[in-house]
Assembly symmetry: C2
Homo-oligomer: 323 residues x 2
């Protein structure tokens, strides 16, 4: 029996596994590179350029999102975005995605379908197809996404920054953290920040452009700017110095800072979930349009690789860690 | 602080995210095709033949395994096996795997490391590298695996069976179900069946061999023989008739059947988790060595595509469904 013949408040337990999978799969359009799509033991994809770029991320309800704070469609968009962004951060473009859904039996089917719609729409932004997945039952709602893509030039790693490089950022940063802070206090405005938390807007074209422009290292800022800059510093064996004067604090973040009695710069330096790109370039003139120079790369001294802010250690919250 | 400096009963919460990831990653050797391994935003893999075969599966504690029934190393081996087997069922060979782990904070680090050892060992059987993953915290333990591979001939789909084909099986079937039945009654023997439940032994070489031999359709039996044969029947638009006389019931399954008062054939027809391959071939002489002919493909009649057993509808339990 097709899912559409069930009442609108039907749960996954009412509908059953295979009708659910059929209904989900029907939402996923397949690109020309998909030789075998969902429904067999595996999908088969045509690959150009002789390589594939692959990344996996998990999202857990209650930890990465709350169903009462974020509509299903936005959870879907975010689940896709954080994975598509990982390919962006290599200087590549995503082409194919798989999604594993561990779902509670009492979850409304409508939630799963709305999730899939948001997920598919976000993938469509970069032309990626949802080529396969798995659905199973779980007390905790867990979303597992794997994304495949390719690069037209060499992938840009975290390890390529050298002293003398400039550090640049592309995409909004701190907005999602501002929105989360607002929601955490029980407010729903400034709406633009709440929306930014609900739905990331990664600069998907910026990764390949930066790679072509000669970016020496790149990462997507998912955990926090200082935290993720720290991964580049560590892997490159350098110091990354961020200049607070380089960040223009947008008005809504200033407003939230005032309302909550917090320094809005903390959202920018410590916040995650916006998925801008942070990259290093040999010369300032290599930095593509749309990027802002926010710091510089220095040789690691006695304190080893690390991130400094205006030349000093940063004492604020640096980002999110699990466990 | 490295994981090895913590006490042997340390939990994930004691150790923290990044030391755990380092300790896990150190267990995964990388093949020559891995251009960029774990630790960056994404892995980069060299791909031959211009295509990639990809599949995703989830395992949830309490649903797919119990920690008190199956040692961590065997859970790891099983998590890998059920995914590697999906590539096998396309006639391909797995080359790369990602693993997402949603883990409770009070999980012993030892469990996670033993899991990873079993996972890596199973991947090594086919020469696949564990190229990336994600670790996060969750109340429910969920394992998400994605596997990538390739085929040297055209992939074998579920949809290619035609009337007149013979149906053949390769690998043990019903053993895991027998082991599960034993464990469910609180017994630990016959040991060979309990071991079969704890650790699958898929015939990884058989998929590519069958593809080269001209298999017209293929599937791996993960949910149950009748259930999975049903997917081939449905996708091919045919009837698959299984002949019970073709199955040799191994002695331990006969013993469990006697002890539990059950027909041991039910384990063979309804049991999952063994991951043998079921395939169809145009002629009996195409069937490779090591396979057993267990039935035939008939044109779908008025009742449509379905599975019959000895020419009649099968009334026993046909396999596992979620929700």
């Amino acid at each position: 029996m097709p899912v559409s013949s069930f009442p609108s408040d039907a749960t996954l337990a009412d509908v059953g596994e295979f009708p659910l999978i059929s209904a989900l799969t029907a939402l996923f359009e397949q690109g020309e590179h998909v030789l075998v799509g969902p429904g067999d033991d595996a999908a088969v994809l045509r690959i150009r350029n002789g390589h594939v770029v692959v990344s996996t991320d998990l999202m857990v309800e209650g930890r990465h999102f709350r169903r009462d704070w974020v509509p299903a469609e936005d959870v879907g968009a975010r689940a896709a975005a954080q994975n598509l962004s990982d390919i962006n951060a290599m200087g590549g473009t995503a082409s194919s995605v798989t999604v594993g859904l561990a779902l509670p039996a009492d979850l409304p089917v409508k939630w799963a379908l709305d999730f899939a719609r948001g997920f598919a729409a976000e993938c469509a932004k970069v032309g990626a197809s949802v080529v396969g997945g798995d659905v199973t039952r779980s007390e905790t709602l867990v979303i597992a996404v794997t994304v495949l893509g390719g690069c037209t030039v060499s992938p840009v790693l975290r390890s390529g920054a050298t002293a003398g490089d400039v550090v640049a950022l592309c995409g909004r940063q701190g907005w999602a953290a501002g929105g989360l802070a607002v929601l955490g206090r029980g407010f729903r405005s400034p709406r633009v920040l709440v929306e930014a938390y609900r739905r990331a807007d990664p600069p998907y074209d910026a990764g390949p452009v930066a790679a072509k422009a000669g970016a020496t290292s790149m990462i997507d800022v998912s955990d926090g700017l200082v935290a993720d800059a720290g991964h580049v510093a560590e892997d490159s064996g350098v110091v990354i110095d961020l200049r607070t004067g380089a960040f223009e604090i947008p008005e809504p973040l200033q407003a939230v800072g005032s309302a909550l009695g917090a320094d809005p710069l903390q959202f920018v330096l410590g916040g995650g979930d916006d998925h801008p790109l942070l990259a290093t370039f040999t010369r300032a003139k290599d930095v593509p349009a749309g990027w802002t120079v926010v710091g510089s790369v220095l040789a690691a001294g006695d304190d080893g690789p690390r991130v400094t802010v205006d030349g000093a250690a940063y004492e604020g919250p640096v980002g999110w860690t699990h466990f």
